[in-house]
Amino acid sequence: MNGIYIHFPFCEKRCTYCAFSSFCNLQEKDRYIDKLLEEIDEFDTKNLKINENLPIFHKNNDNFDENNILKVDSIYIGGGTPSLLEVKDLEKIFASLNKKFKFARDSEITIECNPNSLTEEKLACYKKLGINRLSLGVQSVDDEKLKFLGRLHSSSQALEAIRLAKKYFDNISVDMLIGIKGQEEQAFIDELDSLIEEGVNHISTYMLQVEEGTELARQYQKNPFLLPDEDETVKIYEKTRKFLANRGFIQYEISNFAQKNKESRHNIKYWTGENYVGFGLSAHSYIYGFRSANANNFSDYYSGKKVLYEKLDKGQLIEEAVMLGLRCYCGVDITYLRKLGYDIENNENFSYFCDKNIIKKENNRVFLNPKYYGISNYIIVKLLG
């Protein structure tokens, strides 16, 4: 079914490594919310087109209701720091969405929160509004590392935030960063352990990357030893995979681990080619084989400018299906690829990779052996050649 992404691009302070659209000019917030609501109001299912290159699509089955209204079963409010959103604004956003979309009763509704801006009062309101999943930007449970990353919270604040959130929610995710200088394998595992002790249900582990234009990039230029060796980073990642598996977490994507039935429904849509509609600054949408993205500066966004609008051709659809499918436990549907004109089993590397147990074929799908997630790009390129 369809998902909705809402972008809230404001932060109290920008983290050193962050390359996403986020701004600290909170005075812009009210105007932004107005424009965001406008954008939602202007959404019209009549404008949706279907890319005929798609071999299968779901129109008329469970994507629309009888009044041609798009059915939705996930909302993700990301940022920025969405926990800075005032409750009254959240209410308005939900009201607007309700007018335009038909929500499934069991919709997954996630909001990203920073541990330092979380209060019990807010949590209660979120719950009342129907939010049922929290994603906490913990990043580390080591004060030194948090300082290096430019985060505003301390490790004890992070744990406290989880404790607080647990009172209201039973689906809590945390983001953690791998690959910070000085990070020790066992210490990181202990950090994960402490989070699981607090009762988190979902853990995303991202590898720290130097992105152009960030504070981290500036520091890195002066000091190339700012980041640990790649091999070290991957070692910690591998250890993480094993540890979380032992603790009952399923790795359903390269960076994502969840307890049973706590996989993020919304995230999975990104990997499986389901529709999602993005609203807000720099938000991306994918609807029936069309990709689009809003501008990532305020004036262009307000004027309704798109920085991307493309109809994927068959080659792109094939590439995306392989690239995204192999990243997650869903794998890639061989029949789907064949309908697009690509027989992946004829790829020169396919049988070699199968022999080496790098990929496996099962139920007419191809899966990447999680042991090779660390070098997934390499494998993906080989399977597309």
Binding site: Y76, S255, E319, I375, I380
Partner: protein, 602 residues
């Protein structure tokens, strides 16, 4: 006989960059051969590559008319290539002249090729007129340079014109000198036909064209002619001169310089230095000085994309049409597939050809490290010549190997003598002589293996002497040498395209440098890749490229997958330039990198 007295055949010789082509431009302009609006810089360097590199590769003769003291003269300028690779071509065009203008840069003074070219001109009994160029430069020191010429070259230079070819200063003086000082050609237009071929090129409509100097007799359309060295016979279909474009004249007489066409399909039928005579009324003895041109540097050229083999073949054929000295034959490499083993006159020639393949024919090619040819004397008494390291027989079959050596002359300011001697020592040079040319310049004379010269000698020389040294060399035969083949094994598999032949004493250090270099170049793969250097079955160096661990883009935020796609595109591009050897992928530049070991790893 007045006609021949009004002809002056001359060439311009110089060290590279001393202003040869610029002076040629000025002469053409001054004599009104071409209107100024038709001029483009370095007119005679017609190839894009020639202009860019500031070198002359192909010769272009030009006829100019010049009136001096009421008499009209016919001046034939024969431009010459200015690089040591093309010494033989230079010597043949000099043989077509009576005079040579020796240009010397007013600030640089006498350099290696100044001297080498001046001696070539002296060997050909030419009248030499020194000209001091670039007097517009602030650092010009014309009087000192004149003295240098007298001291070093040994020809009078005090009355040499001081010019600026760039600004057009004193060009008239040069023209008058050409008329007054250079002798007119000698020859009998009623005698038997005797012509020198000093260059050739290919014309799509007329076939191969000979550039000729007529010494005796005349040649006209309809004549039957014979090439005395190759024995080939042709009917003359067109003769003419260059002004500087080709202009038909119907005939050429003794003393003239021009071109001749005869429906010659194959440029290999025309050999530079050959003598043309009349088939029905031939002379008995050809002109002296003919040599069969032999390539001295070899390398393998392979298409990056194996499917482009035929395109590469066609392109080489087309280049060969215009360049008889290019040699190639098919070669199969286990590592690189089908390609060609190509022979060149020198490193510059190699560079020109590979660059033209890439630019003019738009081919992506892999070039293996250049090699010289070796004479391998086998224990069974047989002698074979090889230019490809992988064709070296196994050590037990080899009695001994000989390698080509050169006489090398290096000119430099005295303060660099130590550095140069050290370099020559490292390159297995044998010291012969050191002469002080004047207080500012010495000449070092070494015997060096050619194989060391082509292995980054020139670059090292330049960098160790801050660019002040210049080098000239000539092939001086073969010498017995203790050589071995170093093979490179990737993941235990020999990669034939990476094998090199080196002196035994250098095998270890070269093997180590090579494995270290390859470790840097070969990207990490799925599995660990050992890189080994071996002599026979003995491993002499080893490095390991550890297995790839990280190649993943982590965050895919808010459904933005465009960045992932871009990365994927980039990786796909990179993959195209990879070659697979067994299970190991190596980038195509690895094959040439063998050459660049020393400068980086010092």
């Amino acid at each position: 006989m007045d006609r021949i007295k009004k002809i002056r055949n001359f060439c311009i010789v110089a060290h590279i960059d001393h202003g040869k082509s610029t002076l040629a431009d000025r002469l053409i302009e001054k004599t009104g051969t071409l209107a100024k609006r038709d001029m483009q810089d370095q007119l005679l360097d017609s190839m894009e590559l020639e202009r860019e590199k500031g070198i002359t590769i192909k010769l272009t003769p030009t006829r100019m008319n010049y009136t001096c003291e009421g008499e009209e003269y016919e001046l034939n300028l024969i431009d010459t290539p200015g690089h040591v690779d093309f010494t033989y071509e230079v010597s043949r065009s000099l043989a077509a002249c009576e005079g040579a203008i020796l240009i010397v840069d007013a600030s640089q003074g006498v350099e290696a090729q100044t001297l080498a070219n001046a001696y070539l001109a002296i060997d050909n009994n030419l009248e030499i007129l020194p000209v001091i160029n670039k007097i517009d430069l602030p650092s010009a020191r014309p009087e000192e340079v004149k003295k240098e010429i007298e001291d070093i070259v040994g020809i009078p230079a005090m009355h040499a014109p001081c010019i600026s070819a760039k600004d057009g200063t004193n060009i008239d003086e040069v023209l008058q000198m050409i008329v007054k000082e250079f002798p007119c050609p000698k020859g009998d237009e009623n005698g038997k036909l005797k012509c020198l071929i000093f260059d050739s090129y290919y014309d799509n409509f007329k076939g191969a064209i000979c550039l000729i100097r007529v010494f005796d007799g005349k040649v006209k359309v309809g004549d039957k002619i014979k090439m005395m060295q190759t024995g080939k016979i042709f009917d003359v279909t067109e003769v003419g001169i260059f002004v500087p474009y080709a202009k038909q004249t119907g005939q050429l007489l003794a003393g003239d310089v021009g071109y001749l066409a005869g429906s010659i399909k194959n440029i290999s039928d025309i050999e530079v230095g050959d003598t043309i005579t009349n088939f029905y009324d031939p002379i008995n003895t050809p002109l002296p000085g003919y040599k069969k041109v032999q390539p001295v540097v070899f390398c393998g050229i392979f298409p990056v994309d194996g499917a482009k083999y035929n395109e590469l073949k066609d392109s080489l054929e087309k280049l060969k049409l215009n360049d008889a000295s290019l040699e190639y034959q098919p070669e199969v490499s286990q590592a690189l597939g089908f390609g060609f083993r190509c022979g060149f006159l020198g490193l510059l020639h190699l560079e020109i050809i590979t660059e033209r393949l890439e630019r003019e024919f738009n081919l992506d090619i892999i070039t293996t490290a250049p090699s010289v040819y070796y004479r391998v004397h086998k224990t069974n008494g047989q002698m074979i010549e090889i230019s490809n390291p992988s064709s070296l027989p196994s050590p037990v079959e080899i009695d001994y190997i000989e390698e080509p050596i050169v006489k090398a002359y290096i000119y430099a300011p005295p303060e660099y003598v130590g550095a140069i001697m050290e370099l020559c020592q490292e390159k297995r040079g044998i010291y012969k002589d050191l002469t002080y040319i004047d207080t500012n310049r010495v000449r070092l004379y070494y015997i060096l293996p050619l194989g060391e010269i082509i292995y980054d000698f020139f670059d090292s020389l330049k960098s160790r002497t801050k660019g002040y040294a210049s080098l000239d060399y000539e092939i001086a035969g073969f010498e017995k040498s203790d050589l071995v083949r170093v093979d490179i094994l990737l993941n235990g598999e020999k990669c034939d395209a990476l094998s090199i032949i080196v002196h035994k004493d250098k095998a270890y250090s070269r093997g180590r440098a090579l494995t270290e270099k390859l470790k840097k170049i070969i990207p990490r793969q799925l599995f660990e890749v050992p890189i080994q250097a071996a002599i026979g079955s003995k491993i002499i160096a080893r490095e390991t490229v550890s297995a790839m661990r990280k190649d993943v883009l982590a965050k895919c935020y808010g459904g933005d997958i465009t960045r992932k796609r871009k990365l994927l595109e980039k990786q796909k591009e990179g993959k195209k330039r990879m070659r697979k050897i067994g299970s190991v992928e190596i980038p195509s530049e690895a094959f040439m990198s063998i050459l660049k070991l020393d400068d980086e790893d010092k």
